[in-house]
């Protein structure tokens, strides 16, 4: 019998305590950031869209090798000896011409593993996060500006079975 009244009392008491807390919260300021009128400042290390400064890229392919989801596509060819020597901005000589440097952001998992092995620090993750597009193909970023000069050797393959 005593537990009956104790239960009723504790029910009413805890209800009133809970109501007091929510009432107090009516007067605390809201923590909402009203995007898109107000935008949050991302810290400098934020990992959003990838950007490659192609003038500094030496075409080593380390980033493509490390990527767990294979989202970077690199094709290079050797620059001939008679072409003028070019250097990256920190002085590293560029021996390869990168004619394909595609990053497919739909495959990218934003792990930033590709930014660490880059010898010239040309591949970085920027803070840009508002880059929605209407067509999935527009999410493949083509960074290479060069065109291939020399024809690729044709690989021999077996004749198709009749």
């Amino acid at each position: 019998m005593r537990t009956y009244f104790k239960d009723i009392f504790s029910g009413v008491a805890t209800t009133l305590i809970a109501m007091r807390i929510t009432f107090r919260h009516l007067f605390t300021p809201a923590v909402t950031v009203q995007y898109p009128t107000v935008k949050w400042n991302l810290p400098d290390r934020a990992r959003a869209r990838l950007f490659n400064k192609i003038e500094d890229c030496i075409g080593c392919g380390q980033c493509a090798r490390v990527c767990p989801t294979d989202c970077i596509d690199i094709e290079t060819e050797k620059r001939a000896k008679d072409e003028p020597e070019i250097f990256a901005s920190d002085g590293t000589p560029i021996k390869l011409r990168t004619y394909v440097f595609d990053i497919d952001m739909t495959k990218c998992c934003y792990c930033a593993l590709c930014t660490f092995p880059c010898p010239t620090y040309c591949l970085v993750m920027t803070k840009e996060y508002e880059y929605s597009v209407y067509d999935k193909k527009d999410h493949v970023y083509h960074f290479a500006v060069d065109k291939p000069l020399y024809p690729k050797p044709v690989k021999e393959h077996a004749a198709p079975k009749a």
């Binding site: 009723i8 209800t15 809970a18 109501m19 807390i21 929510t22 009432f23 919260h25 009516l26 605390t28 300021p29 809201a30 923590v31 909402t32 009203q34």
Partner: protein, 352 residues
């Protein structure tokens, strides 16, 4: 409605209309007024709930639609719901499916007829007002069961069954709590109950004697169960049964259920105001201070305060399980309300 009759009688040639029309037009006019009031009230209450709940949760709620704190949000939502495709499940019973939201809304709307908004602003001052209210509240149960069954969906069926059990169980303590006041007034008419509370704060039934004080809280809690609000919102428990008895409804039919719920909230808060908090009477006796604020506004303010308390309770408490809900009704509310009736009966006989 009397004031509407007088207004209409002042139109020239009004007496020339046949008797039927002369009786029918005031009813039509007052129903249209009440319907507009309910519609605007529904939109306002939806907005109020969203804002109050948001601020209790440290966020902002609607801010964008209409400019100042998103006041037109419910208007925009209403238009959106009107434009939605009317989906009726293939295996559902079409007649019952279409009838269910209307039944629930009628149950809520019909109770507005006897709410005394002011000294002369009541649509129909029935001399069995309280009895009429209790009868009409059961109409929504029928609508809910129809909605649950006609949806042909197990979740909806669960919701409908639970809701039926809940509402009809909780009507008993609610009615008994109202009876404590009726015994002291001696009349079932709503307007008589309000006039018995005229004359100041100490005359309001909530403060007159300890029995009616407890009866107010019993009635308030039972009325929460009547309108399926947390902590008694098992029928529409969003996280358990997706959406309970209105799972399969979309578009305007869903809007009808929501409108009926908010209208019902206002109705039970209105009944609590009339019976316990003095209706349209003011705090200081009318003999000392003339009535500055008109009756309907005072009534609406008191009722909206009670609706705010209902919203506050919803966002503070978790949900009761079905058997705990039934335990609360039959083993806690009912004995307490019976003790209250006994107490008030003794007082009425031995302490005039």
């Amino acid at each position: 409605m009397e004031s509407i009759r007088q207004l209409l009688a002042s139109i020239p040639n009004y007496g020339a209309l046949p008797e039927l029309l002369r009786d029918f037009i005031p009813m039509l006019v007052s129903c249209v007024i009440i319907l507009l009031y309910v519609a605007v009230l529904g939109m306002f209450l939806v907005w109020l709930e969203r804002k109050v709940s948001a601020h209790m949760q440290d966020r902002l709620g609607p801010m964008y639609v209409g400019g100042w704190h998103g006041w037109a949000q419910s208007l925009a939502d209403g238009i959106k719901l009107l434009l939605k495709e009317d989906i009726i499940p293939a295996a559902a019973d079409p007649l019952l499916f279409k009838l269910a939201p209307i039944m629930v809304f009628v149950g809520a709307f019909a109770a507005f007829v006897v709410l005394p908004f002011g000294m002369a602003s009541i649509v129909a001052d029935l001399n069995i007002g309280v009895l009429y209210l209790l009868a009409v509240a059961s109409l929504s149960v029928v609508g809910i069961i129809m909605g649950g069954w006609a949806s042909n969906n197990k979740y909806a069926l669960y919701g409908g069954m639970r809701s039926a059990a809940q509402i009809i169980s909780y009507e008993i303590p609610a009615a008994l709590a109202l009876m404590t006041v009726v015994v002291q007034v001696g009349s079932l008419s709503m307007q008589d109950i309000v006039t018995a509370q005229q004359g100041g704060l100490h005359k309001w039934f909530i403060f007159r004697n300890p029995f009616t004080f407890v009866a107010f809280f019993i009635y308030f809690v039972c009325s929460l169960a009547e309108v399926n609000r947390t902590p008694f919102d098992i029928p529409e428990a969003e996280s358990e049964l997706v959406a309970g008895y209105h799972t399969e409804y979309s578009g305007m039919r869903f809007a009808f259920f929501m409108l009926a719920e908010y209208a019902n909230m206002f109705v039970v808060a209105g009944i609590a105001t009339t019976v316990f908090l003095g209706g349209w009477t003011q705090i200081l006796p009318a003999a000392l201070v003339p009535q500055l604020v008109p009756g309907p506004i005072l009534f609406s303010l008191k009722t909206l305060f009670l609706v705010f308390v209902q919203i506050w309770l919803r966002w503070s408490l978790p949900r009761l399980r079905v058997d705990q809900l039934m335990y609360l009704c039959w083993k806690v509310m009912l004995p307490v309300s019976m003790v209250l009736i006994l107490g008030v009966g003794f007082l009425a006989v031995y302490w005039k």
